[in-house]
Symmetry: C2
Subunit: 196 residues, 2 copies
DNA sequence: CCTACCGATCGGTAGG
DNA sequence: CCTACCGATCGGTAGG
């Protein structure tokens, strides 16, 4: 039997998770206290535990939400019937999109996941490893098909994943150029390079 | 770090700083306790304070050592008498070099600097901002000279700085390809792109 | 470089 | 959702 929640409980839990993501991003998981989180929610620290299991659960929830999103996108891209460059472009655009519209969760999952403990830590590590491996396979296929230069596929994927990782800087740039413009710049620079 | 110490040469203070960088990188600044650091040094926690001022001093020292290195390199590159692409290439190669041979300090300065407090925090932020600005100016000059495509210079610099930022992944790659090979891959991908 | 110990703060619980 | 409070752990100090 599924847990029955009143609309109020569900909503408060979501509020707590959202504010937690904000604080974890700003100060880091370890540096954020449950008392601080409670204050920002507008209740006492003890009251948080009527809505959530604990501090660790908050981090776990954020990290796996993001990991599942990217895994699902990779499934889609792998089954795309298109050339390799288009697949890589689709992945780049998705990373940009997630970093713009879901940047708190993405940032926390990328920088704070080390604070999880087993078994979640191992599972998360495995998901990251798998995503990177599947991305690398796509690049390698592009090389063997002659669509892509003969570069080291691991290095290329590392550059891509890092280049698009969440940073504070992002929001400033998005305020100047649109998300679409940002995606286009990314694709141009990463796929066609800087040189004119 | 060797367990048997060669007489002096490396001061206790330097040993503590090196082990601190290692721990801050592995577990994060907040998650590293002075007791843990002391244990790895081989003394009691209280004894650390005969050699260092406190936990904050360790982080400050690491962050500014790295920041000063990059600032000095930027001074050199700006005064280079060469085309813009060569300047950007020199910066990329330096980032790769620092990330390979000084990766603990670079990683900590890049991911843990938020744990500093004013006035150091503000000073460090300003150094980062300045470095990024000078890098952007170089790219903009390249665009106006026609050496570089008309892309958004801020986005390009963000990609470059992130692409080359320290990650665990790095060491694995360096074990497979040489540092020079890694530099060459980086330069190729970032300057000339992926497409054949 | 140690033993002994401090005040502060942490995540979380009991009980209403 | 609150007050009251727990044991654990933190960075750091006193004094030898």
């Amino acid at each position: 039997m599924a847990k029955i929640k009143t609309p109020d409980q569900t909503s408060k839990r979501e509020i707590i998770h959202a504010i937690a993501a904000e604080l974890f991003r700003e100060k880091g998981f370890r540096a954020t206290s449950m008392r601080e989180l409670a204050a920002k929610v507008g209740i006492e620290a003890a009251s948080l535990y009527n809505h959530i299991e604990g501090k660790n659960e908050l981090l776990i929830s954020i990290c796996f939400k993001v990991a599942n999103n990217f895994t699902q996108k990779m499934n889609e891209v792998e089954s795309m019937d298109s050339d390799i460059i288009s697949k890589i472009e689709a992945l780049i655009r998705y990373h940009v999109y997630e970093n713009v519209y879901n940047y708190k969760d993405v940032y926390v999952s990328d920088r704070e996941w080390r604070n999880m403990e087993d078994p979640e830590l191992s599972k998360y590590r495995e998901m990251r490893r798998s995503y990177r491996k599947r991305f690398t396979s796509i690049v390698e296929k592009g090389i063997s098909r002659g669509e892509i230069k003969k570069i080291d596929a691991n290095t290329a994927v590392m550059i891509f994943l890092n280049a698009i990782a969440a940073v504070d800087q992002w929001q400033r740039i998005v305020n100047k150029v649109s998300s679409e413009e940002l995606e286009n710049n990314m694709v141009t620079i990463l796929i066609d390079g800087l040189r004119k």
